[in-house]
């Protein structure tokens, strides 16, 4: 026997359940995981699961997890060959990718130029249009007193947006041509007053659309894998609550449009690694429009993994290390259905207010097709500094109906005490006949939750 080479050191630059997930994947490929943690997470379960911890800064993320130079320095100190950024934090920041590139350390994610190209809405839309991907019809307003022709070309309802607005300001919804003709001059005047520039544009509005996304994995050369789709339409204020793979009730034609569009983007960007192409799928027309590219592993990657039987995080690491990624060629629809529910440390009865403190009891369900991705255990003090995701409960079954039943049973068998969680809300959704019949649009959850019988 020859001596085994030293395992490659991989720095895990994240926290919470995704840090735990990445550490598992590092072990799976035979690597040595080192965690870059804030002081608040220096004794967390992921810290104990890693071979080594490097404390990069104090608890506030702005002084630790969000500082590319600290993460890059930790990678140097650790002797890492690659850095996995997880999701959020620095995962889509070209600055970290570039610092690492300069040190000859692999960034587990797309190239910096890809992060830039898809990093803002305008640039991402241009990339999509060039790649032949359907986008929401939109047009710049040349003359606010002559907009009927533009409006008719786009279709109603539509949104009137101030070019220089932002953060939801300067947006008006109009339902027909008369309303548009009356509102456009007024909106231009308001934009002039509010933003110092009266420029407007019109964009098609979809009031009852589903959120469907395609999982891609690019080889960095223009080719890669399309690993099915996910429906993430159960949302509260744009926060996903439940995701499933495959997206239910999608015709072969529509699915092909989505997957082909995603494939075109992978080719156009010469996309490297795991990514998600998000779309709105209208339930009132045949329209499918591009939303954005998420250039990272996503929270809900688990349902794709379970439905197809793959390990996307291990594939990311192998690609970064220059090894064969080990993904199979798969069909557009997986052989099983997987559903993920996000358990958050929030109180649904108090407008989903996050809470922190000690978890006194933690019990997970067991059984066939069950997976729990979490970093918590009994006695863990859930810190107040970061996001509220506590665990992801994932079930796999032979069809959607069985998967919904399994998810409901799994939620009911979960015991979490010491903190308010969203388990009760998830139980209500999973037991709701409209969710069980599926699919629902993104506008479904809000009114259903607000109108619930208490």
């Amino acid at each position: 026997m020859t001596a085994a080479p030293a395992p490659p050191v991989i720095l895990v630059a994240n926290r919470g359940e995704i840090a735990m997930r990445v550490i598992q994947a590092v072990r799976r490929i035979g690597g040595s995981p080192v965690l870059a943690a804030s002081a608040a997470d220096a004794d967390s379960p992921p810290a104990r699961a890693a071979d080594r911890v490097i404390v990069i800064g104090p608890a506030p993320a702005a002084q630790s997890y969000l500082r590319p130079e600290l993460v890059a320095q930790a990678a140097l100190n650790a002797g890492a060959v690659a850095v996995h950024p997880g999701y959020g934090f620095l995962s889509e920041q070209p600055a970290l990718a570039e610092l690492l590139e300069g040190e000859g350390i692999a960034f587990v994610g797309p190239r910096p130029e890809t992060l830039r190209a898809v990093g803002d809405k305008g640039s991402a839309r241009r990339v999509a249009v060039e790649a032949g991907v359907p986008v929401a019809a939109a047009a710049d307003v040349a003359d606010p007193s002559d907009v009927r022709g533009l409006g008719d070309a786009i279709g109603y309802p539509l949104l009137v947006k101030a070019v220089h607005g932002g953060g939801g300001r300067g947006i008006r919804l109009v339902r027909d041509a008369d309303e548009l003709a009356a509102l456009a001059p007024q909106a231009a005047a308001e934009a002039e007053a509010a933003f110092g520039n009266g420029a407007l544009y019109l964009e098609r509005y979809y009031g009852a659309a589903r959120h469907v996304e395609v999982q891609v994995f690019g080889d960095g050369e223009g080719g890669g894998w399309i690993l099915g789709d996910r429906d993430c339409s159960v949302q509260r204020r744009h926060q996903k609550l439940i995701e499933e793979c495959p997206a239910p009730d999608l015709s072969d034609e529509r699915r092909a449009v989505l997957h082909d569009a995603a494939r075109s983007l992978v080719r156009a960007l010469r996309y490297r690694g795991a990514g998600t192409v998000e779309f709105l799928v209208d339930t009132e027309s045949d329209d499918v429009v591009f939303l954005e590219v998420n250039a990272r592993i996503q929270v809900e990657h688990t349902v794709t993994e379970e439905a197809y039987g793959v390990d996307l995080v291990a594939a990311q690491l192998r690609l970064a290390l220059g090894q064969p990624v080990g993904l199979p060629d798969v069909g557009p629809v997986p052989p099983a259905t997987a559903i993920e529910v996000r358990i958050n440390a929030e109180d649904p009865e108090l407008d989903f207010r996050p809470n922190s403190g000690e978890l006194t009891r933690v019990e997970w369900p067991r059984g066939p097709g069950l997976r729990v991705d979490t970093h918590v255990e009994a006695g863990y003090r859930f810190p107040p500094y970061y996001d509220s995701l506590l665990a992801k409960l994932v079930v796999r079954a032979h069809d959607r109906r069985a998967a919904v039943d399994a998810a409901l049973a799994a939620v009911r068998a979960t015991r979490l005490e010491g903190l308010a969680t969203t388990l009760g809300m998830l139980e209500r959704v999973l037991a709701h006949p409209e969710f069980a019949a599926g699919p629902v649009p993104t506008s479904w959850f809000g009114p259903v939750w607000e109108g619930r019988a208490s």
Binding site: A36, S38, A39, A42, D43, A47, R48, A50, D51, R52, V53, I54, V55, I56, G57, P58, Q63, S64, R67, E69, L70, A72, Q73, A74, L76, N77, L99
Partner: protein
């Protein structure tokens, strides 16, 4: 180097470099009233912080200072700690020196950017707890400080 004078820091650096180039395991040199003691084994009093401390999960967190007693000056973030502004320059401060809150005791290199580390409070810097050029973590004690009566 004349024995009647205090050796300059450059003299000492030259001495240390020469001793380092020799085959000694441990060596002690007296120059006037300055003594230099070096060891490759790490069995030096005062000891530097064990190199393994950075490799012990969570051992170097801010709640578990390695200093036995008194106050410490802790690393404000991850980085590589240097006691001198450049490899050939004298250290910012010596062990046993009095410092004010604003005294620079070293620099922390983060991705080739240098940030000064200040004492943070007045007192006597009794000893350094990490070696020059050592990789350190946030909160890791860099030096022991005796605030004295101040």
């Amino acid at each position: 180097m004349t024995p009647r004078e205090q050796p300059s820091w450059q003299d000492l650096l030259d001495l240390v470099t020469r001793l380092d180039g020799g085959s000694y395991d441990a060596v002690s040199v007296q120059v006037g009233d300055v003594s230099v003691t070096m060891s490759r084994g790490g069995a030096l009093p005062p000891p530097t912080a064990p190199v393994a401390s950075a490799a012990t999960p969570a051992a170097a967190g801010p709640t578990t200072p390695a200093a036995p007693t008194g106050a410490t000056i802790d690393a404000p973030m991850v980085g590589v700690f240097y006691r001198r502004p450049s490899p050939s320059a004298a250290p910012f401060v010596e062990e046993g020196a009095e410092v004010t809150a604003e005294t620079t005791i070293g620099i922390l290199e983060i991705m080739k950017m240098m940030s000064p580390v200040v004492a943070g409070r007045a007192g006597v810097l009794t000893r350094f707890l990490v070696a020059d050029g050592e990789a350190v973590e946030f909160g890791q004690p860099l030096a022991a400080l005796d605030p004295g009566g101040s």
